[in-house]
């Protein structure tokens, strides 16, 4: 009952904000729909937005199952995107593509290492460390891409553009349809993760640590090691997300590379709850919202509204999940 009231309150607040801002809610809903799902072009755009959210969402989800809240996915995503751009520019061709993905994965894991280690062995909360590391990642990549890594002939803060031979190929490219193979990689990873969590001992141990660390410790699981590894793998997936963003879509790294994918992916992972396969529809939901939100900008709806809705969605889903747990107990 309480939860129903909360959901209604959130919807009313959202519509209230639109009305207060002088925007018709019906018009807003229409624009959101046509901008995200109204045409093949719009759907392709939504799928493009879905890809980084799916990968970053899987990263957050993985840590979340171990009881860790990896808010640092944004920083890991940025570092992964940057490292892969550097490697892809240095090594041409398909070999460079592979090396670039590996570099992205390594950079993401490396950026998650301090947070994971501090959580596992020094008991410092991962939420604060990862938020701090996000700010440092933004500063670091901003500096590198404006200075040492900037393309020689560019005035803006960006790397050079990776040639087509060094990029991820399109899965389907017959305009207006355009779907990248990056999405397929994300889907495969999602399937593997779901299988691993359900069928492998290590997957079980990871979730045991997340559910009840002291019981897991008692059962002989090395909780610290699991936590550190969970954070590293989560960061690696975030880094892979950044690499795919570079290699499949952007073709370069620049200041403002991520318009908040890391944050939206927290919503994706929280909504997915305990089922890895649910990360797919949830990232699709946020991808559609993100694409549609861009069309809303034309109506004069500020970008912040998408953030606002994401926050409300997280709060609501957390409330509902709690209710489910209370019923189980």
């Amino acid at each position: 009952m309480k939860q129903v009231v909360l959901i209604i309150a959130c919807v009313v607040a959202f519509i209230g904000m639109l009305v207060l801002g002088g925007i018709s809610p019906i018009e807003a809903a229409q624009t959101l729909f046509t901008g995200s799902l109204g045409s093949p072009r719009a759907i392709s755009g939504s799928l493009k937005e879905t890809t980084p959210l799916l990968l970053a969402g899987l990263g957050v989800f993985f840590a979340l199952r171990a009881g860790l809240f990896n808010i640092g996915i944004e920083g890991q995503f940025l570092l992964g995107g940057f490292a892969s751009a550097l490697v892809a520019l240095a090594v041409p061709g398909p070999a460079g593509l592979l090396l670039a993905m590996i570099a992205g994965i390594a950079a993401g894991a490396l950026w998650a290492l301090p947070a994971g280690w501090i959580r596992a062995y020094r008991n410092g909360h991962e939420v604060i460390t990862t938020i701090m590391l996000n700010s440092v990642a933004v500063a670091l990549t901003d500096f590198l891409v404006a200075g040492p890594a900037r393309a020689a002939n560019q005035t803006g803060a960006t790397t050079a553009t990776i040639p087509t031979s060094g990029r991820l190929p399109a899965l389907l490219n017959s305009p207006p349809w355009n779907v990248s193979s990056g999405l397929l990689l994300g889907l495969i990873l999602c399937g593997v993760m779901a299988w691993w969590m359900k069928r492998r001992v290590a997957g079980y141990e990871l979730q045991a640590v997340g559910a009840n660390p002291s019981a897991a410790e008692f059962a002989g699981i090395n909780v610290r090691k699991v936590r550190l590894n969970a954070m590293l793998i989560s960061g690696a997936i975030g880094g892979l997300g950044g690499a795919i963003q570079t290699l499949a879509f952007e073709g370069r790294f620049y200041q403002g590379f991520s318009p908040g994918y890391g944050f939206d992916s927290l919503g994706v992972a929280l909504l997915a709850g305990s089922n890895a396969l649910l990360v797919v529809p949830m990232s699709l939901l946020f991808g559609v919202l993100s694409k549609g939100g861009t069309s809303l900008l034309i109506l004069g709806v500020p970008k912040g509204l998408t953030n606002l809705v994401a926050g409300l969605v997280i709060l609501i889903s957390a409330t509902i999940r709690y209710r489910r747990q209370a019923q189980d107990a």
Binding site: H125, F263, L266, P302, L308, G311, T319
Partner: protein, 279 residues
């Protein structure tokens, strides 16, 4: 030299106020990741109301807005049983979105010049008074003892006839008061509201609280240290200390890096209140 001291004090003011906000909340047992969001909402509301209704109402509205956010956090954690960190994070997101929305929709784009606010000195006096008042309150009054009891062991506090929920309600109102002041100071200091102007200060204040071992005096000192690190950014930007000019990004990152190192426990052992996050 004097310049450094003044800059440090002005940088430390919002940190001290925010850290005291965090102190009230976390001592009562409520984890408060959401200081950042409360400050941001307060800054936005104080800017908007100061423009339309004058500086005094501006501050009061900022405090009220931060208290409302605080009460939502209380409701979420104490009534709905949501994880404290998740509630705080989503409130931060809501604040970031709402302030962007409110300020772009409700402010006059043609307006220019500083927003008329109370003088920064007012907030600096508050930042000195707040730790002293809290120190006296916790050490000398029954209410202070209840606060610490609710945060140290809510179960035993309940057995002793206290109501941790209710103590936390009042603690979170105090959190709203202090974080409201912290947010309003940012506008008073700069004279403008900008998107995401808190720039992680809420988290740095939390780190100061952790570094200070959840004790008032030490926390305030940690805030001064962080304030000093932030002032270095303005003092040394562009000057070459080690042969080459260190990039401004390095100086901006310094407080964040210090926070990570502080959390790694290299700067003293951690003394978390035992009942933090428990019901």
């Amino acid at each position: 030299m004097l310049n450094t001291v003044l800059l440090t004090l002005s940088m430390a003011t919002p940190l001290v106020l925010a850290a005291m906000a965090g102190y009230c909340s976390e001592r009562s047992g409520v984890i408060n990741i959401g200081l950042e969001g409360k400050m941001l909402i307060a800054a936005c509301v104080s800017a908007l109301v100061s423009i339309s209704h004058g500086p005094v109402l501006g501050v009061l509205a900022a405090i009220l807005a931060a208290i409302i956010m605080s009460l939502v956090h209380w409701l979420a954690t104490q009534r709905f049983g949501i994880d404290h960190v998740i509630s705080g994070m989503s409130l931060n997101a809501i604040s970031a979105g709402a302030t962007n929305f409110m300020f772009t929709r409700f402010s006059d784009p043609d307006r220019s010049g500083r927003i008329g606010t109370l003088p920064p000195l007012f907030y600096q006096v508050c930042a000195i008074a707040a730790p002293l008042a809290l120190l006296a309150y916790v050490a000398k009054t029954r209410g202070g003892l209840w606060l610490v009891a609710a945060g140290s062991d809510p179960e035993k506090a309940r057995l002793a006839g206290l109501q941790p929920d209710r103590i936390r309600l009042f603690a979170l109102i105090a959190t709203g008061l202090f974080s409201g002041l912290a947010g309003a100071y940012l506008v008073a200091d700069t004279g403008v509201f900008t998107d995401n102007m808190t720039a992680g200060r809420g988290y740095i204040a939390l780190a100061a609280l952790i570094l200070g071992g959840w004790r008032v005096g030490q926390t305030a000192l940690a805030c001064l240290a962080f304030g000093f690190l932030s002032s270095l950014n303005l003092l040394f930007q562009g000057t070459d200390l080690v042969g080459v000019a260190l990039p401004s990004e390095f100086w901006t990152s310094l407080p964040y890096l210090a926070t990570v190192i502080a959390l790694a426990g290299f700067l003293g052992k951690q003394r978390t209140p035992a009942g933090l996050g428990k019901t």
